[in-house]
């Protein structure tokens, strides 16, 4: 296809878009809670066959807007229109019956039910039996999804498996099928790509295109600006609960979008980077060395070392054993063989408690389920890693000292909060993550493990987290960073190890002062080749 016809197509589509009637509209909706204006006079219209991206920092009102559009919360002011007619949903089920489906960032499937059961959950077709129409009609279920399976990369066998045993991408596909099986006209995707590896994201984008081509209106929330281009037709930006702009991706760059989101100029290297003063240049004492670390089939003969002042990146696709490696170092899982050396001495780490004693702490992958104590204040979230430090005679917690310490960390790490006695559940994801880092630092570690440190947090918070990692290694620590985002790894790491199927299959040294821009693409390709099957070992 020639460039010209491509352009024609694009303009034709643009023409079409403006002609299309909106399916679901929010007109001047607002939502306020005492003391907080979550959403203020926001309008958005979703058209069939259009991918509408929704951008904004954490706390900008995206979640509130989604909640209103999907019927979870009622707008305080303004109205919703479906096909131009005023519509009031009182709950999510009602919205779903009207064809509005929401796919959340955190999977909302029942993990123990099969894919098929999940798709029809609560709306199972029935057939006649002993007690009237009381029996489930599995045949009808199967025939309804059969034509869609292949298109969205699922097999019949996978449909019979527990949904929890499927990968994140397949689970998304299930949710899409769930939407389509009920003739969804609007599909809302809340950060669907978090937790997906790069190639999986591409498949998901294909799924989204297919939905679009079927005439479904998509609303897509994402933090990754690089994803938008080539897929989004319209971009709406929210900031502080207000509608800032509705723009076309053709006229924007990631930089201009960030400016719209943040409302101020951002430091250079916008897409989440912040520059590090100095890179590690080699030759410092070894903090951690692993020799032949093994655990079943998950980890096979892992050898690595991290030195003082170094950031070691770990790349690999989902299931390559990266998180397992972190858990093994931390003692969260028992290892079968191999040795762990800290600061030149062999150590036995059989529990996270041991790891902390030897100066190792982790910022876990799943913030909500593995890191945050939602009902605890910031203070308690921070001090839990070393309660004795602020205790009198190691027995009684000195609350004043505890609060003072927490305040210091909160200031130093730039956590945005109304106070350290605030419950952490009320903070945005990025600020929660900073508190988790503060907790790790509080235990005075020499090695910090970061597992997907910027998952689901906004651009500004991302560069803050990078800065925390830099500060930590620059002050004499060592860090291991696991990430599915290659650009992130390339920016942050001094050296990257590539894992595949539980083994380390390659190493890439990231050049210090070289122009990253030109080098990055080459390194990324090299890493991808090793991470996928068949790369140089």
């Amino acid at each position: 296809m020639s460039v010209e016809s491509n352009n024609e197509l694009a303009s034709a589509r643009a023409q079409e878009t403006s002609d299309k009637k909106p399916v679901l509209e929010a007109v001047g909706v607002g939502k306020r809670y005492p003391g907080v204006v979550a959403l203020d006079d926001v309008s958005i219209s979703l058209r069939g066959g259009e991918v509408h991206a929704l951008l904004g920092e954490n706390g900008a009102g995206k979640s509130t807007l989604i909640g209103i559009l999907s019927g979870i919360s009622a707008p305080g002011s303004g109205e919703l229109r479906l096909d131009g007619e005023k519509q009031e949903f009182t709950n999510a089920a009602q919205a779903q019956n009207l064809g509005i489906t929401t796919i959340y960032q955190e999977q909302s499937l029942a993990p123990d039910l099969t894919g098929l059961q999940n798709i029809f959950l609560g709306r199972e077709p029935r057939r006649r039996g002993l007690f009237g129409r009381a029996l489930l009609d599995e045949k009808a279920m199967r025939s309804r999804v059969a034509p869609l399976l292949e298109e969205f990369g699922l097999t019949v066998a996978e449909l019979n498996q527990p949904a929890g045993s499927l990968g994140a991408l397949k689970q998304h596909a299930l949710q899409i099928l769930k939407a389509l099986a009920f003739d969804a006209r609007v599909v809302i995707l809340d950060e669907p790509t978090s937790g997906l590896a790069d190639h999986e994201r591409l498949s998901l984008f294909d799924h989204m295109r297919r939905l679009r081509d079927r005439g479904v209106a998509l609303l897509w929330v994402t933090h990754r600006l690089d994803e938008l281009f080539g897929l989004a037709d319209v971009i709406t930006v929210l900031r502080d609960g207000r509608h800032v702009a509705a723009v076309s991706p053709d006229t924007e760059t990631p930089e201009t979008l960030v400016r719209l989101m943040v409302g101020r100029e951002t430091p250079p290297g916008v897409s989440g980077a912040s520059s590090r003063a100095k890179r590690w240049t080699g030759a410092a004492d070894e903090i951690l060395r692993l020799e032949g670390l093994s655990r079943g089939v998950l980890l096979d003969d892992i050898n690595l070392s991290v030195r003082r002042g170094e950031i070691l990146g770990i790349a690999g696709i989902a299931g390559a054993g990266r998180t397992e490696l972190a858990r093994a170092i931390l003692g969260a899982d028992r290892i079968d063989g191999g040795q762990i050396h800290m600061n030149g001495r062999q150590v036995r780490i059989r529990s996270p408690r041991d790891a902390y004693r030897h100066g190792i702490a982790i910022v876990p992958e799943e913030r909500k389920s593995q890191a945050v104590f939602g009902d605890f204040s910031l203070t308690k979230n921070i001090s839990i890693s070393d309660l004795r430090r602020t205790s009198t005679a190691r027995l009684v917690i000195d609350r004043r000292a505890e609060r003072k310490q927490a305040n210091e960390y909160v200031d130093k790490l730039g956590v945005r909060t109304s106070g350290v006695s605030q419950k952490i559940r009320n903070l945005s994801g990025g600020n929660q993550q900073k508190v988790v880092v503060a907790r790790c630092l509080f235990s005075g570690p020499s090695l910090l493990l970061f597992d997907e440190p910027t998952q689901g947090i906004d651009v500004a918070a991302k560069s803050d987290v990078y800065r925390l990692i830099y500060d930590f290694v620059d002050s004499g620590g060592a860090a291991i960073v696991i990430s599915s985002e290659l650009p992130e790894l390339l920016r942050v790491s001094d050296r990257i190890l590539v894992m595949r199927e539980g083994r380390i299959v390659g190493e890439v040294v990231v050049g210090g002062d070289a122009d990253l821009g030109s080098e990055e693409g080459v390194l990324a390709e090299k890493i991808m080749a090793m991470a996928a099957r068949g790369g140089a070992a």
């Binding site: 907080v36 979870i72 389920s369 009902d375 027995l395």
Partner: protein, 343 residues
């Protein structure tokens, strides 16, 4: 500030509702029965409530850490039996007390080892030890005559008083204060809350969950054992079914007081208020001359009413407070903390 705001603020104070419900009940009883507020009746009320109070206090620890301990009813009876047996054989008071407490410790240790180290479900483990403990007391009462001990020291344990306050009440008060202090002011207590709120996070933050759970079940057993000692001294005789049903009363007391059964929330004093609520209720009903066959029904209805009142107040309080900033995604919000680690 409007009256509505003021009310909401008061209602938001943890445990305010159940305290109010308790006071209302006391007023009702005091008005309807002239005997309710007499010195003798209050004395009886306090002395008879110490057992439920102690069990509920220990249970609070277990529930906050995310578990349950059904065995305390049997521990209460069995340790009373062991104490009385030891005392009746002429052993010094201190030895008798230690035997009673040690009985609780052993049961707690068994519970803790099975739950924390083998990862067996707490409900099942403590249901089994409840059954075993009850059986052991049955066996004990058939072999040994467990009545009247002639020892002034032993009698003093229940009959003695300081400044007019009965000794068991004083000792219970001391234990309760100590338990509350440990729970809110020590690293141990803080870890219990942390494990109850999110055990995966606690594990990854360096909390030794196994040891913590073991300690909590041992603590619950020891406290129940001590309650058994006081019960032996109080009754000076032990029947085969002694302690039956106390475990459920203790759990009900904790829940009425607002200790969350899903873990991570609660305090000892709130469970104690709940325990007082239940004891006062049953005593008040007796005073009012309510037909004893109706007792359990009235008690059940009162429990439901107390909890409904408490939840209603909380709802009222939260309706005037700003909601969490991210009110959407309830599917995610509702997700329980994972209990995969070490269970």
């Amino acid at each position: 500030m409007s009256i509505r705001d003021r009310l909401a603020r008061t209602a938001a104070v943890e445990g305010a509702a159940v305290t109010v419900a308790f006071i209302v009940m006391v007023v009702v009883f005091a008005v309807s029965s002239p005997f309710f507020l007499t010195g003798q009746n209050l004395h009886n009320l306090f002395v008879e409530s110490v057992f439920t109070v102690l069990l509920a206090a220990g249970m609070t620890y277990v529930i906050i850490v995310g578990g349950i301990d059904l065995s305390v009813g049997s521990v209460l009876g069995l340790s009373a039996g062991m104490t009385l047996m030891t005392a009746s054989k002429g052993a010094p008071l201190l030895v008798a007390i230690l035997v009673g407490v040690a009985t609780g410790l052993v049961v707690g240790l068994v519970n803790g080892l099975l739950i924390a180290h083998l990862g067996v479900n707490a409900f099942i483990v403590t249901l089994a030890t409840l059954s075993i403990g009850g059986g052991a007391l049955n066996v004990l009462t058939t072999r040994v005559e467990l009545t009247g001990v002639d020892s002034t020291a032993f009698t003093n344990l229940s009959q003695g008083s300081v400044l007019g306050i009965p000794a068991p009440v004083l000792m219970t008060l001391a234990v309760v204060l100590l338990l509350e202090f440990v729970l809110i002011a020590t690293p141990f207590g803080r870890r219990i809350f942390a494990a109850g709120i999110n055990d995966s996070a606690a594990h990854l933050a360096g909390v030794n969950l196994r040891r913590l759970r073991l300690q909590v079940y041992v603590l619950s057993g020891v406290v129940a054992g001590f309650a058994g000692v006081l019960l032996a001294a109080h009754l000076n005789s032990v029947q085969p079914d002694l302690g039956t049903g106390f475990e459920l009363t203790a759990i009900a007391a904790a829940v009425i007081g607002g200790v969350s059964l899903s873990g991570g929330q609660g305090s000892v004093w709130r469970a104690v208020v709940g325990a007082f609520f239940l004891t006062t209720l049953s005593q008040g009903l007796q005073l009012l001359g309510v037909d004893p066959t109706w007792f359990t029904i009235v008690t059940g209805v009162s429990i439901v009413a107390a909890i409904a009142f408490s939840r209603g107040t909380q709802w009222f309080a939260s309706s005037l407070r700003p909601a969490a900033p991210r009110p959407s995604a309830p599917a995610a919000e509702a997700a329980e903390p994972t209990h995969a680690v070490n269970r």
